[in-house]
Symmetry: C2
Amino acid sequence: MPTGPLRCLTPGQLVPFGGDRVAVVGDDLAAAFVEGDRLVVVQETGDLLHIPRAEHERVHVAVGAALEAFHALAGVTDDQLSQFFCGFADRLADDQVFAPIAAANDGDVASATARGRSTTRLVLSPKMRADMIAGLRVWQHTDGRRDVQVGRVDHAGWSVETRRAPLGVVGFVFEGRPNVFADATGVLRTGNTVVFRIGSDALGTARAIMTHAVEPALRAAGVPVGAVQLVDAAAHAAGWALFADARLGLAVARGSGHAVAQLGAVARQHGVPASLHGTGGAWAVVHPDADAGDLARIVRHSLDRKVCNTLNVCCVVRAGADRLVPVVLEAGRSAAAERGATLVVHATPSSAPFAGPDAIPQAVDDLGTEWEWERDPELSLVVVDDVDEAVALFNRHSPRFVATLIGGDAAAQQRFYDTVDAPFVGNGFTRWVDGQFAFDQPELGLSNWQSGRLFARGGVLSGDSVHTVRTRAHVTDHDLHR
Amino acid sequence: MPTGPLRCLTPGQLVPFGGDRVAVVGDDLAAAFVEGDRLVVVQETGDLLHIPRAEHERVHVAVGAALEAFHALAGVTDDQLSQFFCGFADRLADDQVFAPIAAANDGDVASATARGRSTTRLVLSPKMRADMIAGLRVWQHTDGRRDVQVGRVDHAGWSVETRRAPLGVVGFVFEGRPNVFADATGVLRTGNTVVFRIGSDALGTARAIMTHAVEPALRAAGVPVGAVQLVDAAAHAAGWALFADARLGLAVARGSGHAVAQLGAVARQHGVPASLHGTGGAWAVVHPDADAGDLARIVRHSLDRKVCNTLNVCCVVRAGADRLVPVVLEAGRSAAAERGATLVVHATPSSAPFAGPDAIPQAVDDLGTEWEWERDPELSLVVVDDVDEAVALFNRHSPRFVATLIGGDAAAQQRFYDTVDAPFVGNGFTRWVDGQFAFDQPELGLSNWQSGRLFARGGVLSGDSVHTVRTRAHVTDHDLHR
């Protein structure tokens, strides 16, 4: 197959993607693209992502340096890694070191304010500073388990063991807030290195943290400075370039929405495993025998604020609907009232007779919608014939994330677990799905099964999860043969 | 971004791939491609793979059926799965059932012979038949561990556990030999379903096995018939279509060479985890303190026949070269003599003074070459300054598969393990790298690190490995909140 360099794109050029589709090159892209730039054709959508040469090269160099540092890290002790986390935390805690970081943050905040951007999560407040330091102290005292045995088989004359081992370079794309450093650098604890991009709003702060805290702490501990790489680029293209680098061992994107989904697609089509939130929203199924008091508590504690594991769809089995739908609605109103807000109910046709006159009609086919509320809690309500129908709706419409069955005996709970296609299944409130809360470990990422089940791993990505497995043979009898 | 259907390809059309390259549509492809067909642009190479509509649809339907069967399998007991393996084995053992299978195999063999194709591994001999039956009996009696706990954390008022769970649909592409059914169906043991393509030489035999043994055994056990799908298509395009189906949980390709590498690239760029052999060839590093007798035994047992884990490159540390290179050469000659063959030595410049006049010169940059010998064992010989130099050569040139250090104390062995970038590391012969031999479990696939370290798993893929992890919460105190 003859091939050559991609020298230019022409307006109207047809670019095949996704097997049987074409994307059309627009005038702007054709005008902007020059030889040496890169084009990523997103196979899921036909998006044509233009990566200017400068962004590509910056990322290429950063990943190369991180890969080199990764191999060098094999010669760095766990104590040195602890020293790094300690030194990084100490520097953030030192007012003199922190002064230029605070100044850089003031600059970022002023710039964001001038551009009319939200600064809620951009201000490096005393609390955020303390949280960052605390996060680094956790890593300082965590056992990274860089090289521990996970299995062993003994044979006559030899034995074989499987051992955890570091994975490689982890690429992160963060939103524009400064407190991502504990997460980004946490992967060093398990022997990995990191390249990360941060939203442009927080780039000045990030630069200052790198210069005044991260790099000096790495040097002081004797850890290769290449082990932590900030991609110093404001353009989104830097994130695409990062996730398109097949040398990454893992790509993690924070946040949600189209940009994150697009990054996930870029990573996947470059063969890079990706951890990203995807669509959120938990489903609860209410068994007819559910205890009204438990149900009320569960709904209230699952609607306290809007995050990815907040209750989004509630299916009530018809036999219990008269008794239990009012409990759900009252608990939802109570959760809303606690925040001085009003409950918004979306009712499918089956639940309309139970949901009251204020409910907003919703089609069953729209049950995949995640209600992205800020103040007023929103909830879809469905009345189903039985738990199996609720499971079928979940498996068809949900983002395959969190499912909970409220009530039901052990057999009903087991059948629910066996049939619902969710990585996270419970019998109570939905907000337990969080790595820190559930496993007492810092959470680096959380995945649903929207793009399928995750091979060989669970949906929670903790520092501990960023590993591969090696196999080591110890032969004592060298007459061993096949 | 405007998009539309891919209606046609035109000769000379430029198809962007790999970020900064274009492939050129040739006359043949343009002439053959019609609307409804699919085009896979291999991003690593620019190969333009044409999948006719019929092949795509056949595979699409098969994967859909396997996915439906996967969900139905949640309601099938372990006993039923055992019954399936037992029934399949019984049918193969029954001469009356086997008669039409044998007849179909005779047809395949006659056809291959007429086309001048090798029939060495195509003949369904009594031994192959017995091995297939034995393989199925292993699965029959294996505990699939479909749903077992792997971790648990207790909290006040609730607990959370992680559990193994089935992964989904596994796609296999096999070479053209009939004895792949035990591997293909083995994934059912762990609750997965399978779609497989078999090389066209063995397709008649495979069809007969499906009709007379697999499908009746599935029905008799009450296992959904969709759980085992043979892609009944002779064209390579069926394999591309299979690995391009993002609904697969895992893609496994057997064999080696360009076709397998291409299949791996197709799977990876569709976000499907792939297990494939890649380039083989083991490396041994000989420490200056190595025992001559052990070294001789290790080399002989590592050169007994050519498979993926056969010794390919031997690095001898200079301080021991005078004493130990002759041992390596003599052991290699001895291994060759055992098969009535002659040792072929490829010598890099550093080893030429030690390797004798018959050695064939080899450039260091060519050390990645896998010697695909059949009769005469072939071996690259390198003399290095120290073990670190050998490790650096391995990390730069090898396919990152098997590395062994012969001799050296525990500290030297540990340093070797820490620095060599290989999934399989040993201190003796290289041929131990085999799932069945090392872990007493049927091996479905074996991976090197040519495309990077494997996230969260080792290089041996056994039936046991084909799983995901689910997280289940048991709440007892429904006042639990965040």
